[in-house]
């Protein structure tokens, strides 16, 4: 099994897409954390409250976890590419000739996608720390990186991103067509889902909305403190994992059982 995981990671390392996606994560994270840190506490006018102050623990958390949503979005894409690329470039036959037991291939790929999520999240956390801390320092605020609430939140983004990698892989097996899978992942899971959650909240079905993947992952980060109508962080992680497992299982029973011609 380790050998298969190593081979999957070698596949990822020997093409360039993971690198391009990581650059995207770095760029978006830097922009996100700088913007958040630069605008903290601004906007208060005439007694109307503005953004929370830069010393507010919740604000610090959002500065230092600014890399979470770029990281999970891009690793979702990477996860789908790990499997859909095999069909697109017709390399799936090579893979299945070496490992005819198809579920083993899926497990190795899930693990590889999750590991890549870990890598993306750690890089994003470092970028957010550097960018956010320097912005705060320039503005003359305490950096606040040492707070346990920040450390906890950042740690959970790492977990959450790893799960999103596996989720992307599950989605990719299920859909198999590369473009369709990526579009479904980004538009469906991330954009439309936000709308759906909004709608569900309007019709007072927020209970259901909490269990959607994106809502569950914001629960992972926000769950360290309050969290209005969100799951506890661990439940968010479990819900996200369940989504990943659901997609992967559905994909394994459909696409992977099919003839490879």
């Amino acid at each position: 099994m380790n050998r298969l995981l190593a081979a999957e990671l070698l596949k990822i390392r020997t093409t360039r897409v993971w690198w391009g996606l990581l650059l995207g994560v770095v760029g978006l994270t830097a922009i996100g954390s700088v913007a958040t840190a630069a605008t903290a506490g601004l906007g208060a006018a005439g007694g109307r409250p503005g953004l929370p102050a830069a010393t507010d623990p919740a604000m610090l958390r959002s500065i230092y976890t600014a890399g979470f949503s770029p990281a999970y979005t891009f690793v979702l894409v990477l996860g789908t590419l790990i499997i859909t690329g095999e069909y697109r470039h017709q390399t799936i036959s090579h893979t299945l000739l070496v490992t005819p037991r198809r579920t083993r291939v899926v497990v190795a790929k899930l693990a590889a996608a999750a590991l890549m999520g870990l890598v993306y999240a750690v890089v994003a956390a470092v970028v957010a720390a550097v960018a956010g801390a320097s912005t705060l320092a320039i503005r003359g605020y305490p950096v606040g990186l040492a707070s346990t609430s920040v450390a906890g939140a950042v740690g959970l983004t790492v977990l959450g991103t790893a799960i999103w990698g596996a989720l992307g892989l599950g989605l990719g097996i299920l859909i198999r067509n590369q473009i369709a899978a990526v579009v479904t992942g980004i538009v469906g899971l991330i954009l439309l889902e936000g709308l759906l959650a909004l709608l569900l909240n309007v019709v007072h079905a927020g209970v259901v909305a909490k269990f959607l993947p994106t809502q569950a992952s914001s629960a992972i980060v926000a769950g360290v403190s309050t969290g209005a109508d969100q799951l506890p962080w661990w439940a968010g992680a479990l819900v996200l994992l369940a989504w990943g497992a659901l997609f992967a299982a559905a994909g394994t029973f459909t696409t992977l059982r099919r003839d490879v011609t």
Binding site: R3, H89, H94, T95, L97, P100, T261
Partner: protein, 317 residues
């Protein structure tokens, strides 16, 4: 050369595959022997690739079984060290180098990394090892496919149209390569839709058309299916001698003085001429007409019949 591997047989029993609307392979029972190169022949769409994919566990048979050494591919304890396969419509990631492709396979199969460079060397790809496959010619891709099959140094080789895209020099090289593998006791199954491509390489042929077995025989036997050519200055006397021996009438064979006798065994023609004292300058089996034999075997069969006659022709994926 002495055999260096234990021979493993490839067998299919009543192998059948029905895709949504197409009967691709029907009741195919064949035996492919070790120590020989077997040509798996048939026109495009005959079902060769589908058969090979069933053999390799990539396509599930509708009926019947396909076995390597009596075991289904998916149940082989160490598939990469047992069977080396290179399939049509299997490709490589264009952004990965040839060497990295082999490293991935070797790592997944638990083969030593040293095999990667050995196989690159073996297939003459060392110079292009670090180049991305996207820049490879079709012939180089075929070589990379072969290099992949050789990684585990397997006793069984299954190659789908390996001569496609090779130049004449490459085909000659492939011939030597496959002959060498068979001489060491390996089982070599090579598909082709052009008999001429493999004619000088194969010992046995398995010919299919429309998914059905048409002929499985040593190539030499197929050759005999042609005719005997006799060159004689006295064709009338030859005709009489043949008629006396109950053999068919000779017809002009194209070249002056040469006559074609539609008789499989040259020894019978030779004996009849000898017994009647007919002067013979040349006597040989017609071999250059093998392609015609092949064509006559595979034609006459209609295109794959749709199971639902009213449906439009299926689109090839």
């Amino acid at each position: 050369m002495m055999p260096v591997v234990d021979g493993i047989e490839i067998t299919t029993e009543g192998l059948t595959k029905v895709f949504a609307r197409v009967r691709a392979v029907t009741d195919l029972t064949v035996r492919v022997r070790p120590g020989r190169v077997t040509g798996f022949l048939g026109p495009n769409g005959a079902g060769k690739t589908t058969t090979l994919r069933m053999l390799l566990g990539l396509v599930a048979p509708t009926q019947g079984r396909a076995l390597v050494g009596g075991v289904a591919y998916a149940d082989l304890p160490d598939p990469t060290r047992t069977v080396g396969a290179s399939l049509e419509a299997t490709s490589f990631h264009p952004g990965r180098s040839g060497r990295n492709h082999l490293r991935v396979v070797a790592l997944a199969a638990g083969l030593p990394e040293g095999r990667v460079d050995e196989c690159l060397e073996l297939t003459g790809l060392s110079g292009a090892a670090h180049q991305r496959v996207g820049g490879y010619s079709l012939g180089m891709r075929q070589r990379l496919g072969l290099a992949t099959t050789m990684l585990g140094d397997p006793p069984v080789l299954i190659l789908d149209e390996p001569a496609n895209g090779l130049d004449p020099q490459g085909i000659a090289w492939l011939r030597g390569f496959l002959r060498h593998l068979a001489a060491s006791g390996r089982t070599v199954l090579v598909s082709s839709h052009v008999l001429a491509e493999v004619e000088q390489t194969v010992d046995d042929v398995v010919i299919i058309a429309d998914g059905r077995l048409v002929r499985a025989a040593p190539l030499a036997e197929l050759r005999r299916g042609a005719a005997t050519i006799v060159r004689t200055p006295t064709p009338e006397r030859l005709a009489d001698a043949l008629a006396g021996a109950g053999l068919p009438r000779p017809t002009p064979a194209g070249t002056p003085g040469a006559w074609r006798v539609p008789e499989v065994l040259p020894e019978r023609v030779g004996h009849a001429a000898y017994a009647a004292g007919v002067e013979v300058h040349e006597l040989y089996t017609e071999t250059d007409d093998l392609e015609a034999v092949f064509l006559s075997l595979v034609t006459g069969a209609s295109p794959p019949a749709p199971l639902v006659p009213t449906d439009p022709a299926p689109v090839q994926p």
